[in-house]
Amino acid sequence: MASTVERFGPQWVRQDLIDKVQGKALFTWDVKLPGMLHARVLRAMVPHALIKRIDVSKAAKAPGVEAVVTADDLPDPVLGVGVLASHKVRYAGDAVAAVAARTAEQAAAALALIEVEYEPLPAVFDPEEAMAPGAPLVGDTAAAAAQPEGETAGLSPNVAVFAGIEDGDIESAFAEADVIVEETYRTQMVHQAYIEPRIAVAQWHPGRGYEIWTSTQSVHAVRADVAIVLKEPQTRVIVHGPFPGGAFGGKTGSELEPIVCLLARKSGRPVRLANTREEEFLVGNPRHPSITYIRSALKKDGTILGRHVRMIMDTGAYPGGSAIGVAALLSTGPYRIGAVKVEGYSVLTNKSSCGSFRGPGGPQADFAVESHMDSCARALGMDPVAFRLKNAWVDGDRSPTGQVMQSVSVKECLEAAAKAIGWPSDPNAAAAGSTGTRRRGVGVAVGWWFTGTGASTVTVKLNDDGTVAVQTTGMELGSGSVYASLPAIVAKELNLHPSQVVVAHGDTSTGPYDVGSWGSRITYNLGGAARAAAVDLAGMLKDEAAKRLGVSPDGLAFGDQSVYVQADPQKRLGFRELARVMYRYSGPPVGRGSFVYPRPGYDRTRVRGDASGAFNDPAYFAQAVEVEVDMETGQVTLLRAVAAQDVGRAINPQGIEGQIEGGMVQAIGQALYEEMVWQGGKLVNPNFADYKLPTATDVPAVESIILEKPSTQGPYGVKGVGEPPTCPTLAAIANAVYQATGVRIYETPLTPERVFMAIRRQNSS
């Protein structure tokens, strides 16, 4: 249900679609090189231990084995922390050694012959225990063991990141409050669960270094990591990015690539290394579990005097990602609040290393604050929608960090979602009147999210037949942000049909730099770069045509693959002719572009540690759901799901709907079904039988409502799209469950058992 006012351009079948539908597109899984070996990794089965001895001699002599590597093969084991453990393992899953053999079975068999002697260390699995002074130290360097100072003084060095925000006098806010609402929310560890596990193929060329094919969100990030870990100049690391079979934030850096490079070099042959599904669960940078203590000081009229948030994220074995910094800014919501204090901690434990999963920090913060907003409204006897509308930002309001908000659309999104779900005129009465075994309720939640930044460059080249190629290394993760948006944008600037613009996807040695496909940034940044490159080329073409037609470039326009004089359209030069003469005589018709823009300002005195200071061109959104709760089993059935999202400008509405639907379904999985369950440092459900993704029978059709309020800086007003849909779903569902049952669920996932137990507790109290 796209409510786009005006289409950006024509719809067409983008170039990668038919190959993908027919199973012909090249994924890393499909890469096969002559003489290729198959590798497997030996992973620690203990959560925390010193490595006393590793003996690979038997494995090296096993049938079919061509190379075995350990941290000893790294140029510098310190640079390889997290790649291959040299003296200590931090979680059951840490890579200790790897084997390349003629078959994957031979490699697996050889793993069993590697002898590793461990000296077990005390382990810590609970982030709050890990924060306490005297907790076992997860880190393994002297720096990691240094006693913290400043904001985290007195806590364990396991606190990897602190992120704080302070705005106004929080003490007085609570002193003046009519009502104080204080709650604790928890979220679980969830996995991106893409279809294609991590996989990399590498080959060593003595003359030009490492050549890598990998399933990644950024070929340049992999190149940078590998170059550092293997101490090679970047020119000697060539990274190809075939289509990744899903990523969702899980494939932002290197993981297997340095290992497979070492094996390729040692064996002298190409090597393929793919994770099993079990390994993928262990090393996939899942979403940080969180604990959020949130309390609000309220006036009877619904004014929010103050909000205090203390949030603890469990980051696992390595301090991956910036989720806590983002969550700190999100954790008070897009609302006018008198005073704010946020204290965020990201804490090491002996479990899988958490990292970026689509909207890192978003679902955690949004679940807490948007569930809490409903509780605040109920405590005041107000309608939760009306309470949000009363306090939601409008243009010109300031964030807790002092950023002046522009192009704000919280209210528009909330009103659209509430209307679509049929928000009741008196939700409190609806909640009170619900009886029987199966009870229905509706819930809403809003959110805001930044549009990611970072460098993107694009080259737009006129071919000598008059067609246009867009050269990029931007990774197409499936949304269409590369293969649909870039041709649409370039076509717009040159007045071509998008099918006349071909995306030429390059590797790190041939393609223009792009930092990576994450942070909802591709259409914004890479699209901005593509527009700049197309404008650059357009200028060259007009200048050349003006010279040859003897007119001023100002009066020229594009159409039918040619440049013509607007006042006299018969006077024209075809792209083909222009290409011919420009390549031969006057310089190449090749436009280059980056997307450069100022970052939003904020008040630095309000920000502590790694908290996000400002959100670049944020997107706003709201979701609404209707649920039915089986009071006897606790089963929550989603009947309807609505997502209203402000995308700024919809370049590719079909792709945007795909992102909204897919993102919300992924969040429904976190809300109701999925959890990585750890017992004593062991992940007990690393498989799709017991890690429960929602099936097609469990989710309703998502009704997406696209709103367009142009951003301040994005090309054509674009805002980020991909991550927002994962943020508000958890709270929207929990709020609907509350309206249906009168029971507040403080922890995700809302499994039947958890909901049932909460109902039983409430009934017995």
């Binding site: 079904y673 369950v677 099936t695 039947p752």
Partner: protein
């Protein structure tokens, strides 16, 4: 080297099983193939049944239902006679896995895998099915209530395979149900499963009732809970339809209570013992009501004060 046999007859199949110890029968493969790929199963070889004529046939007649080794869940669940006469089994087969799994997976494979959570096992327990085991020594009949020994263990001896499951005909106006409590609607394993089969005489008195449970004991569990229902008046004929009698609610609650007492659920990654225990009466009551509804088709007449 893994062996793969494709015998052309059941005789030949049991010959391979006897002559090549460590070989296992491969039917649909929906349990065995993933287990093999994950390295969870070490076997000498597989004995595929795909080359045996008629081994997937489903026979329905006056003397009951015969399920053969390659009869799939989908074949059972799509047979109109099974829906009409053995509804507990039809519903159980329909609740297995997904469409793809039901198209490949077999009922015989489901019981031989002997998971305590096996959906079809509890239904077959309520129907008094008989498992026919075949070996070089001949054929023996095993009542299904005696078939399961523990999780993954049955009374089948080395060299034996299940050649059929025979389900006797209904003993009256039959109704049955399988209620599966699981987080997902598909591709899920029962947290608790309850199968009920009951039979009424034409006056609405219960001739027999059996209640079996999945995922609450080391084996699929036939409970004695049906005793609370047998002999009770559950409905009265009323102008071509049925009138619900008072007291059924309490009878079913009592049966649910008995079933709960028979169970010994454990905690695992799928649910706590506490939740399982709480779900048993819910699943049993729901299955009983559904079964009664199927035994007494048409709109019930429910007088004021009678609790449905």
């Amino acid at each position: 080297m893994l062996e793969y046999h494709r015998p052309a007859s059941v005789e030949e199949a049991v010959g391979v099983l006897a002559g090549r110890p460590g070989s296992v029968v491969l039917a649909g493969g929906t349990d065995l193939v993933p287990a093999y790929r994950a390295g969870r199963q070490s076997v000498r070889g597989y004995v595929s049944l795909r080359g045996i004529p008629g081994v997937g046939e489903l026979s329905v007649g006056a003397d009951g239902l015969v399920i053969r080794p390659l009869s799939t869940h989908a074949a059972v669940a799509s047979h109109p006679e099974v829906w009409a006469r053995w509804p507990a089994l039809a519903w159980a087969c329909q609740s297995v896995g997904s469409v793809q799994v039901r198209n490949l997976g077999t009922v015989v494979g489901n019981i031989c895998h002997a998971s305590p959570a096996a959906d079809t096992a509890s239904a077959l327990l309520t129907l008094g099915a008989v498992v026919e085991a075949r070996s070089l020594q001949g054929t023996r009949d095993i009542p299904i209530a005696e078939f399961f020994l523990g999780s993954g263990r049955t009374v089948l001896q080395p060299g034996e395979m299940v050649s059929a499951i025979r389900v006797p005909p209904p003993a009256g106006l039959g109704g049955g149900a399988y209620v599966k409590i699981s987080p997902r609607r598909a591709m899920d394993i029962a947290v608790v499963g309850a199968a009920v089969s009951l039979w009424l005489d034409e006056n609405g008195r219960c001739l027999d009732c059996r209640v079996a449970l999945a995922s609450v004991a080391p084996v699929p569990l036939l409970t004695g809970a049906g005793a609370a229902v047998v002999g009770q008046q559950l409905a009265l004929p009323h102008d071509g339809t049925w009138e619900l009698v008072s007291g059924v609610h309490d009878i079913f609650a009592q049966a649910a209570q008995l079933a709960t007492e028979a169970a010994s659920p454990i905690s695992d990654v799928r649910a706590s013992a506490d939740y399982r225990r709480a779900m048993i009466p819910v699943a049993v009551r729901r299955a009983l009501w559904q079964a009664l509804g199927r035994a007494t088709p048409g709109e019930w007449v429910i007088r004021e004060g009678v609790q449905a």
